[in-house]
Symmetry: C2
Subunit: 326 residues, 2 copies
Amino acid sequence: MRGKIMVTIKDVATEAGVGVGTASRALSGKGSVSPETKKRIEQAAKKLGFVPNQQARNLKKQSTGCIAVLCPTIYHPFFSKMALHIEDEIYALGDRMVVVSSQDNLRKEKIILEMIKQRRVDGIVFITHYDHGDIDPDLPIVSVDRHLGAGIPYVTSNNYEISRAAVERLIAGGSRKIGCVCGETAVESETRHRYEAYLDTMSENGLPARLYKPQFRHGEEMDVMRKFFEMYPDVDGIFAGSDMLANAAYHVASERGMNVPQDLQIIGFDGVLREWKGRPIFTTVEQDIPALAREAVRLLMKRIRREEVPSRVEVPARIVEGETTR
Amino acid sequence: MRGKIMVTIKDVATEAGVGVGTASRALSGKGSVSPETKKRIEQAAKKLGFVPNQQARNLKKQSTGCIAVLCPTIYHPFFSKMALHIEDEIYALGDRMVVVSSQDNLRKEKIILEMIKQRRVDGIVFITHYDHGDIDPDLPIVSVDRHLGAGIPYVTSNNYEISRAAVERLIAGGSRKIGCVCGETAVESETRHRYEAYLDTMSENGLPARLYKPQFRHGEEMDVMRKFFEMYPDVDGIFAGSDMLANAAYHVASERGMNVPQDLQIIGFDGVLREWKGRPIFTTVEQDIPALAREAVRLLMKRIRREEVPSRVEVPARIVEGETTR
DNA sequence: CTGTTAGCGCCTTCAC
DNA sequence: GTGAAGGCGCTAACAG
C-alpha cells in the first residue's frame, strides 16, 4: 500500500543481530535488556526508520487507542468547544478522538454503538437528543447531561442551582414578566432542571411563568424566538436555555424595537460565543466546559478499565455578567 | 477487557461445524461457499452475536479505516463546518474521522504526521497556519487552501476571481475608501489571493489601498479590527478575509458610531455564521464547503490508493447578498 | 539477559 | 466447495 516498504520490528532485530523479542523489549522499554544491545537496537531502529505499527500493537493489547465522540452536530459552538476540550484530554493520554456528527440521524447514532463491538473505538462520549432506550449498561459509554440508562454515567453542570440564581438575577435587575425558552430533548436530560428551576423560582416569587420548551434543530433558534415573542409579547426578561437562543432573543427583540437591557434583560446559557461575538456581550451561565470534558474523559477511561465510577458527576457553573442585564 | 468474552470467527466456525476459512468466506462474501453451509454459518454468527473485529481485519488488510483531519481549532465555525462535511463524506465511505485540533501548536501538528507512519490513520486532511517545510510528498495528505509542498494536492475556492467580484461589489455600492483585512499565515496559502485581488482591483480603479494583513489567533478578531480602524479611520468599505473578521468589523464600527451599511459596507468571506446569527445578515463570499469537503476526501482516497491526482482542485464560491452592502 | 514460540482475529493461498 | 496452515506486526511467556 505505502510506497516505502514497511519496516518491521523483525527488520530491526535482524539489523541489530538480535531476536525479535529482545528488540521488542528494548523498543517498548518493558523487560530488561543490556544497555549495549539496547543501544545497538535503538540505532538500528533509527537507521531503518522504524515506527511501531499501532494496529498490530493494539490488536495484541486488545484496545484501539481511540475514543469516539457523538454529538448532534459538530457545527455548533457548544459541541465544538466540548469536542475541543475532550480532544485535549484524550490527546494528553496518547489516544485519539474520532468525531461522529449525527445530524440528528437516529440511524447514524445507532451505528456508532456498533463501533465498540467492532473494536473501532474503546469507548464513546455520547451526546444525543434521542432516546436510545436499550443501551447495554456494560458498554464503555459516558454522556453529557443526558440520562442514557441505568448504567450509563454522565457529567453535568449544577443546572438547577445556577438556573435559580440566573432567574433571581433577572428579578434583581427589575424584570417581572420573565420568560424562559429551553430546548426539549426526547431523552431525559439534565437540561430540564433549567426550566424547573425557573418555574420554582418564579412561583416562589409569586410571578407568573412564561415557559416555552419546543423541540427544534440547531439553526432554527430565530424561528423559535419569534414564536416565543408572539406568545408572550409583554415579556421583559428572558432566561434562555443556550447562548444561541439568547442571541436569537436579542435579535428578535431588536426586530420588535425593544432595547436590551432597558426593555428586556437576557441571560443565556453555556458561555460560548464570548470568544467570537463582539456585541452585545451576553450575561450568561458559563458552564465549565474544560472541566466537563475532563470529567467525561476521566469517567470514560475508568469505565473502559472496568473500574467503578459514580453515576453522576457535577461541575459547578457560574454566572458571568455582560451587557444584557441591568 | 470487555465483559462478555469476545466471540471470534473461530467460535462461529465451530458452532456451524465448519472450518474458519469457510466461515470467513461466507461472512465476508469473498470466495464461494455452498448456499446451505453459508446459511448455517450466518445463523451461527447471528446466534453468537458475532461482530468482525475491525482491528484484526485492518491489520490484515493493511489499512486503518480512519482519516485524520488536522485543523488549528475545531472551535471555529469554518473549521467545524468543514469537519462536519468531511465527516459526512468519510462516513459514507464506511470510514471514520479522527479530529486533531492543534491549537496552533506546531509540535502537535508534527506529531500528527507520525500517525500515518504509526498506522493509526490512512491519510490526513491537513489545514494549518504553519509551514512544515519538509512534508514527504509520498504521504497520503491533502490540504485545504494551503501549499504544503510540491507533492501535496489541495482544494481551494476561486479566491482571486471571487475576491475581485467582492471588491467590485463594494465599489458598485458606492464605497471608495475600501479597506481589506485578511489573516496572514506562515505557510503559503491560497488565501493570499484574496488580498491580491483586492490590491489589483483597487489599483485598476485608481483607488488607494488600505490593507492590513496581520498574523493573529482565532478569537482575536475584535482586537485586529480595532487596530485596523485606528490605522484607517476614514474607511467606508471593508473586504474581510473571514466572516469572523466581518463580524468584528461590524461591532467595532458600531463602537465608533458608524452605521452599516450607510456609513460602511462590509463583505465577509466563508459563508458561515448565517445559520447562527440573527442580525445583521452579512453580505459574504460563500465558499461551497460541502463541495470542498467532498473534493478533499475524494483526492485523499485516491492518494491513499496511490492513484494520480491533480495537484489543485478549485471549487467556485459565490457572493450572497445580505444587509451589510448597499 | 536473550532467543524462540505462541498467539491477538482475520483473511488468503493451497491442496484436497 | 472446503479445511488446514501461514502470516499481517507485535508482545508476552517460556526456556536457555
